[in-house]
């Protein structure tokens, strides 16, 4: 026997759900959800009220935007002198490159940056992209060095600024990456001789700071060469950067190789693929994809590390800044120039890290669930 449940009275309506959209609920959820949260908000607000106005006064309200030395000196450290950038930007961006010829590094760098940006899109990942790289790199060196096509030669000692930073990092990574893949494969090779060589190389380089590698390139390397030979210091430093970042990249790539299940290699072997076929068609495509974020991190690191060439007296972006603001009229306004250069580095590195996140999602479309 069953009894039917019947409500004899009207059930009172429930209160509407608490609003979760709009400004006030957002504020409550994110800033004042409980007393700890509210305390945090108040502390941060107090700090901002204390320190933000002086900072804004310095950076905006008291700032001098004209390249007017007298006005800058009059305001002193009460306001920023952004005019220093307008005054010195050519020296900061192009270093000691001859003034009338500076269109050449400008064109060369633009070509390079456009190509790098284009290489980021999958639509351009076609065989002709390699050709484009060869063409652009040649054009870069022709433009920078001159001596052909009626361009006045400019010796490498006068190259500097942003073009040098871009060159050192792009060529550094372009050469270091294939090298690092070989070293990583070598480190996992079954041949003890090759494995030992690769382990020694990676551990030696990773154990010392980049600056000592650069010192070695600039002071010790000339002694290694046969008498009468000399290699340009720029090339030596470039080789130093390549060897250094290749060691770090090799460890990243090795991480990817280790993460690949053994079954993949065994399956390739049972299909009768040779060692290099296995590496090229089975192992590398899968394992490199796994370590894309780490590879991009190393790329960003190398880009930042090129600033160290300043210490061995090359005038890259950081070095050119020291050069540009060295004169006594403007040296009190170093900070403004430094912030300008920091902003350039920040934009480049931030773009790279955002691209890394995008490419990670993009490459995972095949394996991602959902």
């Amino acid at each position: 026997m069953s009894t039917a449940a019947v409500a004899l009275q009207l059930i009172p309506s429930r209160p509407p759900p608490v609003a979760t959209e709009g400004v006030l609920p957002w504020l409550k959820r994110n800033l004042f959800s409980d007393w700890k949260n509210t305390l945090g908000t108040l502390i941060v607000l107090a700090v901002l009220v204390r320190y933000l106005p002086p900072l804004l006064n310095w950076a905006v309200f008291n700032a001098v935007a004209r390249p007017d030395n007298a006005a800058c000196r009059a305001i002193g450290h009460e306001g920023a002198c952004w005019g220093v950038i307008a005054e010195k930007y050519r020296l900061i961006l192009f270093g000691r490159y001859p003034y009338e010829q500076q269109w050449r590094p400008l064109v060369a760098t633009t070509l390079m940056v456009v190509l790098i940006a284009a290489s980021c899109y999958r639509a351009f990942w076609k065989p002709w992209l390699i050709g484009a790289w060869v063409v652009v790199l040649t054009a870069f060196f022709v433009l920078m060095h001159g001596g052909v096509l009626g361009l006045t030669p400019v010796e490498t000692a006068r190259w500097g600024g942003f073009p040098l930073t871009i060159m050192l990092s792009t060529i550094g990574l372009a050469v270091a990456f294939p090298l690092s893949v070989l070293v990583a494969l070598g480190r996992r090779s079954r041949l003890p001789g090759i494995r030992t060589l690769c382990v020694l190389y990676v551990e030696l380089i990773r154990g010392v700071p980049l600056i000592s590698v650069l010192f070695m390139a600039s002071f010790m390397f000339p002694l290694f060469m046969p008498a009468g030979w000399s290699i340009d210091v720029l090339v030596r430093v470039q080789v130093g950067i390549i060897l250094f970042s290749a060691a770090y990249l090799a460890e990243v790539v090795r991480g990817g190789l280790q993460a690949l299940p053994r079954g993949q290699v065994e399956a390739a072997a049972s299909l009768g693929l040779s060692y290099w076929q296995t590496a090229r068609k089975v192992v590398l495509p899968q394992s490199l994809r796994l370590v894309v974020p780490a590879i991009m991190n190393t790329f960003i690191g190398t880009f930042k590390d090129t600033s160290l060439v300043t210490i061995v007296s090359l005038y890259d972006l950081t070095g050119a800044l020291q050069l540009a603001l060295g004169d006594s009229d403007w040296r009190k306004f170093f900070l403004e120039g430094q912030l300008f250069v920091a902003a350039i580095y920040f934009v480049c590195c931030f773009a790279m890290s955002r691209y890394s996140q995008w490419i990670e999602r993009h490459l995972n479309t095949g394996t991602r669930r959902k």
Partner: protein, 371 residues
Amino acid sequence: MIYQIVAVLLVVAAGWYLVHNTLFNMRARGIQSGFDFLTQPAGFAISESLWEFDSSDSYAKAYLTGLSNTLRVALLGIVLATITGTLVGIGRLSRNFLIRSLCTAYVELFRNVPLLLQLFIWYFIFTEFLPPIDEALQPLPGLFFSKNGLQYPIPIWATGHLFMVAGILVGIVASWYWAKRERRRFEATGRPPRVVLPALGLIVGMAFLGWLAGGAPTALDIPEKTEITVGGGGAVTPEFLTVLIGLTLYTASYIAEIVRGGIQAVAYGQHEAAAALGLNGMQETRLILLPQALRVIIPPITSQYLNLTKNSSLAVAVGYPDLVSISTTTLNQTGRAIEAISLVMLAYLTMSLLTALIMNLYNRRSLIRER
């Protein structure tokens, strides 16, 4: 097989060729070689050091001084960067919007600008924006902050302090015994062990007792301001401050990301399981969250410590007398490039390999025990 014989032979041949060239060049240019210069007087002064150093001391002592300066800034930097990085990393997961965005902004800003440039910026701020020493800032009584660096009070050494140190040692031994006893009791009765707070109490209490037993010395050497300068107390130079703060803030931004990643790596089910077992917030953090997060966090954080130590070599750019800076001066004075640079590389390599060794031991201990 043939490949590797060829490869090894090639490397050996290239190495022999380079050595041959080097020897030839050095003979041709009349460059002397060997490490005998280490015993000669250095002939330069070092602006700051843990011990007395003057220009008649040997190059070997100069190198040791440089090494001590590197280690001093690196160790202090590691401690500060760990604290800052952990706080910021936790802050990035905060429910509070302001804290979260501030921490994110900090991480993005400091990670994406080269360390060298950051050092230049800090150095410029410390030497240009701070007041001269006769108008030194005084954020707290006894602390003076000026273009000459930071001056702070230090206790004057008295025999009483020796008792305090002894007290700390006694406290450490006592808390070790306490921890052992607690573990035994936990295994016997299942009562959760209390270790951290009692141990802290023991150490601090013993130190306090030792200090009292030593006659409670309270004399402090406080820097004092006169008309033109600030004298007395302990002091650090703006170069040291630059390197310390630059390294700390840069490395902390990396550590923050590692800490955040480690905390997020603990699966949400672990939190639910802890709640189902009836653990409270503290217990959950201590017993469930931390052991699992630390296993993810510690290996990359060690490599950040190594990076910090290696990055301290950038001190040469602002004139802090670290190992690299001393070595560069030596190189310029003696012309022995190979010896000067290899000494630096040897020092860093030793530090790296030692750390790697300790890390491998730790990793072996903390591995998840699988079937």
